[in-house]
Amino acid sequence: MDFSLTEDETTFRAEVRAFLQENLPVDIARRFARGYHPPKDDLKRWQAILHRKGWSAPHWPVEHGGPGWTAMQQFIFDDECALADAPPPSPFGLRLVGPVLYTFGSDAQKAEHLPKILSGEVFWCQGFSEPGAGSDLASLVTRADRDGDHYIVNGHKIWTTEAHFADMMFCLARTSKSDRRQDGISFLLLDMSDAGVTVRPIPTLDSGHTVNEVFLENVRVPATDLVGEEGRGWSYAKFLLDNERTFNSFVHRSRRDFRRMMAIAGAEGGALLEDPAFRMAAARVEIDLKALEWAVLRMLSGEVPDPVAAASALKLKGSQIQHAILDLAAEAMGPEMTPLYPDPEDGNGGALPFWTPDEAPGLMAQYLYRRAGTIYAGTSEVQRSIIYKQLSRG
């Protein structure tokens, strides 16, 4: 075992920090710090800046445009970005479909899509969930019927984050019937401006607009936009979901949220931060958070006997810690957490109430939105079942 950061890594952290200080636009950071979902324009501008530096896809292989960083460097980069309030890039292109494309896509697909994902020119969304297929994805019913050199896609997708500003969607659809529900599913790329695509917002409990329903009515998708082999979409989706799960510890965001929580508790004379019981509760969460950080490092180092169970553990614990931090923040805010504050950065949002504490707007929007942390990308129950399955083998 060797716990020391290499000299390179120490240098690297300083380099990233300096870059962020010089290049992250203050207005973007300020907006993101509030806790509201970042607007598309912020995501786009910031990704373009990263792209110019060659840093827009830290986890991609060099041959596809990645910077060739070690896992540790990626961790440091994400950490510094979170601490600087840089909005993480939209995950659907970079984190999700990108790796599917460079692993299973055709040369034409790679050539067309990867550069635009890297640059942030094209935004993606994920068409997996359906009204009858949430955690149980394999029960999806969207159909893609072959018609010459096209598929005709009909279906109804739900929980489609950012569909209202995405240019492309990757989605799962049935191309044939099969006894095994996982078979006969294909992985398609679909242009959101195609005829037959309708996006309808789903108002959520945070009073924001992030997720949507997407109705697909006789959407004509060229057969060249099929990824990999027809009927093998389930395996690509599993590849994608496994990638996603590994990164769902929320550790960097939670470190930032912890800092914000402490700032709230210390505001107005620090009444609550001086309270011994509150301090103990915060200390207890800080310990959990530190453990989570090292659990992620351990995962990155590749030294976990059971990475499948470990990834589920990260997701489970990460979402619990996220809630615990936001709960402390809400407690620290006291009765001031109750108003529905308009986003002060949104010109059309309306006036703030008199005497609104600086830290208040956005906190509860974030709190409520993050309630989904125990639901998406595999509910906590699904994670526990995965873990038990692994345990019972061991």
């Binding site: 969930s129 949430g134 739900i158 789903i202 108003p339 509860m364 309630r371």
Partner: protein
Amino acid sequence: MDFTLTDEQALLRDSAARLLRDRFDFGRRGALLGEGGAAFWPDIAALGWPALGLPEAVGGMDGTLVDQAILMQELGRALYVGPYLSTAVTSAWLLCSVDGKHAESLLEGIAAGTLTVTLAHGEPGGRGILDVPGTKAVASGPDTVRLTGRKRLVPDAATAGKVVVTAQGDGGLVLALIDPAGQRQDYRTLDKGFVSDLDLDGVDGTVLATGAAAEVALDAAICATLTALGAEAVGVAEGALQHTRDYVAGRSQFGRRLGDFQVVQHRLADMFVEIEQLKALLLHALSVADQPGPDRLRAAVGLKVLAGDVAKRVAGDGLHLHGGMGMTEEMPISHYYRRARVLEAQYGNTGYFTRAHARGLT
């Protein structure tokens, strides 16, 4: 002891549930709440609910906090938003403890359903209803004070006919009556409640009570408010449990109904257990509701702690069990959750009241 509802109480519960189901159902609720904070008040006034807890002398029905708690429970279940708590509980209990013609005529208006009144007590940076107000009151006439200060998160002030302001005068606490006009900003809470900020910049108010008399009246208002909130929390939590039970019975995942999964069943059972505890503690608080003193306040504070915890936990579990659907405006559970979340923080959060309770621990 006998915890059976009287025939009148059972009738009140059933008729309230029926009216709310018919006129304030979930479909209509959004529209009604868009119209403003008192949109549903005429229905409530027509049924005489504001008169429930008031003495016959002012036109009331001579009921007790038990009756109001029965109603609050149904209002919670129906996710009611409006000035019932602020007018008929907080203000009414305060005014009933105050002597004089002003209080009497206000109570007559409340009982008749023609007047809503709210208490402006919280201030910016304040942590809860047990805080001492910083607003200043300086004598400005034989029966009036000039008020200077800031009142924050005042419930239902936008539609209130009168506002009772708490302030500090030379002789200690002052309760003064003002009109809700002036520097006021109205806004909404996460659960669609109506609140206002009041900037009192030398506003003249009529003195209702001062010193010890004012303290007694405020104590009555605080105890009644916290106890009624506890009752509302029972309704909120029961509503959340029922909606969740029905949802998991209908929803399928992995080829089975959600309600067939043992972990789902056991979580629902835990929700039930928490609610049973809360119902029981509500009885305790009600048992001392008409006995002013430290025991009553202690019972009310303990109830608020449990109410906040239970409502938040039960509605949170319900939200989780709804999966992605629970995150939508469309599903009642998301509204139960928001009401529960706000209820926990209103008038002081669980930490605030647990601290208060801990101070009195012997």
